[in-house]
Symmetry: C2
Subunit: 195 residues, 2 copies
DNA sequence: GTGATTTCTTGTCAAATGACAAGTGTTTTA
DNA sequence: TAAAACACTTGTCATTTGACAAGAAATCAC
C-alpha cells in the first residue's frame, strides 16, 4: 500500500494556489485506492461515490447502447480525476462502467467527504468547480469535433492529445470512442501510416 | 422594461429549496436584459460576463470552424440559463457567438456578482453546481448520441426534447447542430414525414 | 409591392463509413 | 502447451452522407 501523497499534493497545488496547511488538510482526507487490471472501478446500476485522483494507471468508461453495442465514453490517464458526474452529483444510479485497462492506483474521497471539504475550504471548492468546468469544456469540444471533423482528423487529434491511449487501449475501444467501427479505424490507421 | 421577477423567483425555488428571504436576495441581484432578434448577446473575442436566466425568447450559439463553416453549438429555450462556460469561468475570450433568434429578455448577473452570491448563499452555490452538472451531462449525452445514433434518430430526439426549435430556427442551423448538411436534413425530414 | 435575399428542396455523383465475413497473428487460460 | 478467446486487417458490397448546383417558395427591405 502506497501512502505517499506527494504527487496528490503537487496536483492540488498546481491547479489552485493553496497554503501548505490547507493543501495538507485536503490531501489527508483522501484514502488510497487500488484497482487491478480488468477490475471495475464503477459498475452500472450503482451510485458513483468515489472522487478519484488517478496517480498511476489507465482507465476507460463505457456503456451499452440500445442495440447492445459497447460504447467507450472516455479514457482517463494518470494525473486526472475520475468519477461519473451525473451519478456522483445527482446521487442516481449510473449507466456507465469504469474499468482499469492497466493496474491502477490513486486517492479517493466520498461525496460526503468532498462536500465537507468544499464547505470548509473555499479554495478546494474553486478547484472542484475548475475541474468540472474543464470536463464540461472537454465534452463540448468533443461534440463540436464530431460535427465538424472527419474520423481521420479525430483520430489524429486523439493521438496528439492522449498518445498513451495507443499503448493502453485496444483498437476497438478507440474506435467506439471516436464514433466509428473498428474496421474503419483499421483502414484509417493504414492510410495514416502511409503519410 | 419588465421588472417583475416572479418567473425568475419560481425558477430558483424549483431547482433548490430556498427560504423566501434568500430567494428574494438572489433575485434582487439580477438585472434586466433585453436582446432584440438578430442581436448578439455574446460576441466572439470578448469575455462572457453575463450569466443569463432567459425568461422569454430563443437563442443559439455558434462558431466558425477552420474551413469557414458555421457550426451551431447550442440552442437555448426560455426558462434556462445562458452563458459560455469556458469564457465565463476561465475569464478568457470566447470563440462563440450567441445570437437572439427571436426578441428575448431575461435577467443577468456578472461573474463578480455570481461569485459574491455563491460566497454568501450556500444554496445558490448548490444551484450553480447543479446547473453546471446539468450542462455537462447534456453535452456528454450529445457526444454519445453522435457516436451511437443515426442523424435521423438525432433529429427525432431533438424534435421531442426541444420542439420549439422547429418554430424558431431555420433548417440550416438545426442541421449543423445535428452534425449534418442542410440538404441531408431536408431529405431526412422528408423520409420522416412519410411515417 | 417588387426586387433581392434567404430558405428549403431536389437532382446527380463521389466519398466515407458500415455490415458482414474470412483469415492471420497474439494472448489468455486451464 | 493446446485450445479458446481476442485483436487486428482486409475484402466485398450496401448505405449514408457530402459536395455542388439549380430552382421553387418564402421572407425581407426599401
Amino acid at each position: 500500500m502506497n501512502s505517499d501523497k506527494t504527487i496528490l499534493l503537487n496536483y492540488l497545488k498546481e491547479i489552485i494556489s493553496l497554503s501548505e496547511e490547507r493543501a495538507l488538510t485536503i490531501a489527508e482526507a483522501f484514502r488510497s485506492r487500488h484497482i487491478k487490471k480488468g477490475e471495475l472501478f464503477l459498475k452500472e446500476g450503482s451510485i458513483s461515490d468515489e472522487y478519484l485522483f488517478l496517480e498511476k494507471g489507465f482507465l476507460r468508461s463505457f456503456l451499452w447502447d440500445t442495440e447492445g453495442n459497447e460504447v467507450t465514453v472516455n479514457f482517463f490517464a494518470q494525473n486526472n480525476v475520475v468519477f461519473e458526474v451525473a451519478s456522483f452529483f445527482q446521487r442516481i444510479p449510473t449507466q456507465e462502467n469504469i474499468e482499469a485497462l492497466t493496474d491502477s492506483y490513486g486517492w479517493v474521497l466520498s461525496f460526503r467527504e468532498l462536500n465537507e471539504l468544499f464547505h470548509t475550504i473555499p479554495e478546494f471548492r474553486e478547484l472542484g468547480r475548475a475541474l468540472l468546468v474543464r470536463g464540461f469544456i472537454a465534452f463540448k469540444e468533443r461534440t463540436i469535433a464530431m460535427i465538424n471533423t472527419t474520423a481521420e482528423q479525430r483520430y489524429e487529434i486523439l493521438l496528439r492529445s492522449k498518445p498513451d491511449i495507443i499503448q493502453n487501449a485496444p483498437l476497438k475501444y478507440i474506435a467506439s470512442y471516436l464514433g466509428i467501427t473498428d474496421s474503419s479505424l483499421s483502414r484509417i490507421r493504414k492510410e495514416f501510416s502511409k503519410k
